[in-house]
């Protein structure tokens, strides 16, 4: 007599809800986004400019200086084209995900580059933020819908 077929799958779904604590530094940045402001902070020790800024410099461990605003103009520092579909995707592929070197910042911001054909995106391309409409502004990077090429700039 043979044994029955073994059990090979077992569903045991978990759901876990969490509180995110942004900290003092990143809260400054997130609150700025809700006001269409990109707030950066500079390290008094090494002059590194953080965007988004934490509370202290991870190199010097010094508290960062007071926040100041950047206009958001920048350049694509690297990018990739997302070509595949996946669960939870909100944008139809293909689309461009990029590192944006915002002028005045020492760190790079990750965001979408749209309003341009993916094959036309280049490293070094001048880009600007497209802010969400007033009623969609929030303490999240979703306050910037995406970056797009600066009109008239050399692509």
């Amino acid at each position: 007599m043979s044994l029955p077929e073994p059990v090979t799958t077992m569903a045991s779904p978990f759901r876990m809800d969490y509180t995110y604590v942004a900290g003092v530094g990143r809260s400054v940045f997130l609150r700025g986004l809700a006001e269409r402001r990109l707030l950066a902070r500079r390290c008094p020790g090494c002059a590194q400019v953080y965007l988004p800024p934490p509370e202290f410099c991870s190199r010097c461990l010094s508290e960062l200086e007071a926040p100041f605003e950047l206009d958001g103009l920048g350049a694509v520092s690297t990018f990739c084209v997302v070509n595949f579909p996946f669960p939870g995707q909100t944008i139809e592929p293909p689309y461009v995900v990029a590192y944006i070197q915002v002028h005045g910042a020492g760190t790079r911001l990750m965001h979408l580059v749209r309003e341009v054909e993916p094959e036309r995106v280049r490293i070094g391309m001048a880009v600007e933020p497209v802010w969400a409409p007033d009623d969609q502004l929030t303490t999240s990077l979703k306050s910037i819908q995406h970056f797009r090429p600066v009109r008239g700039a050399d692509a």
Binding site: F14, M16, T19, V24, P54
Partner: protein, 356 residues
Amino acid sequence: MRDTAVVSYAQSPCLAANRRDDMADILLPVIRAAVDAVGIERDEIDFYASGSHDFFEGRTFAYIESLDAVGAWPPISESHVEMDAAWAFAEAWSWLQLGQGDIALVYGIGRGSLPQDLDQVMPAQLDPYFLAPLRPHRDAVAGLQACAAIDAGLTSEQHMAEIVSRCLASATENPYAQTSGQVSVHDLLAAPYVSSPLRKHDVSPPGDAAAVVVLAAGDAARRLTARPAWVRAVDHRMDTHYPGMRDLTSSGSTRIAAGRAADLAGFAAADVEVAELHTEYSHQEPLLAMALGLNGAEINPSGGPLAGRPATATGLVRIGEAARQILDGRAGRTLAHATNGPALQHNLVCLLEGAA
């Protein structure tokens, strides 16, 4: 064995919920305090080891955020355990035993307050096929253990309330305790059950905090502090994963770890004056005291976990507190115990001594 000692210890206050500071912000002042106390610079530290757990943080590789407080620029020797930081301490101690460096910094950071409901999270640590699907709530397995411990005559609800009363009174002297006070056994026994026979006070209160221990070997330890807390032994043992396979009333893994530690140290748990035990629940104190073979040691003079249980830092706090007894010249020999997993599944024993 290479002589290695705890030379410094610091922690942040245990808070039920810290909604102001991110991981690095909680940790930075604690590292500063521990390092400044022995007058060293960051570049004198040869090794960093830390403990935290993504399931408490709700993010993958969450501990990377804490590295911002370390000043983690290459070259750096750095390691992390996804569990209580007492095991990061064990790793750092082993690393120093290998002679790769002289000074190690160990930190634990944990935020029990980030999961909006620990009942969603804690079943994930259980056997995934035969136990987790039942979704026992966070204190259910401990309730089974407490019930069995009472039935075996190891404790009673009255005795458990006495333990809690004593710990909360001791914690009034501890500025970092999450909860403390003079509470009568009578009042405690009037409280409702949360997981019979456990009442709310029998369950250590989860919260947020960071702890930092600085370890140093040989002459470096002697140079950094007048009275190093020499780590004479560290051992840890684990019981089987499925609680149903265990006798919950005796902690075999603690007993074995204590025996091995005694062999290594040349003295036993019975010889220590102070024991800091990782009692997540009040009924575990007599259970651990028996498994360790304590003989009249003062237990949890800091108030212990029943006065505050910062996730994944609580075990390291026990080591820090046990070491502090020696650093401050209040005890000659102490013991620290740490645990991980449900109902004392995995247990670590550390024996410390003042004399060089």
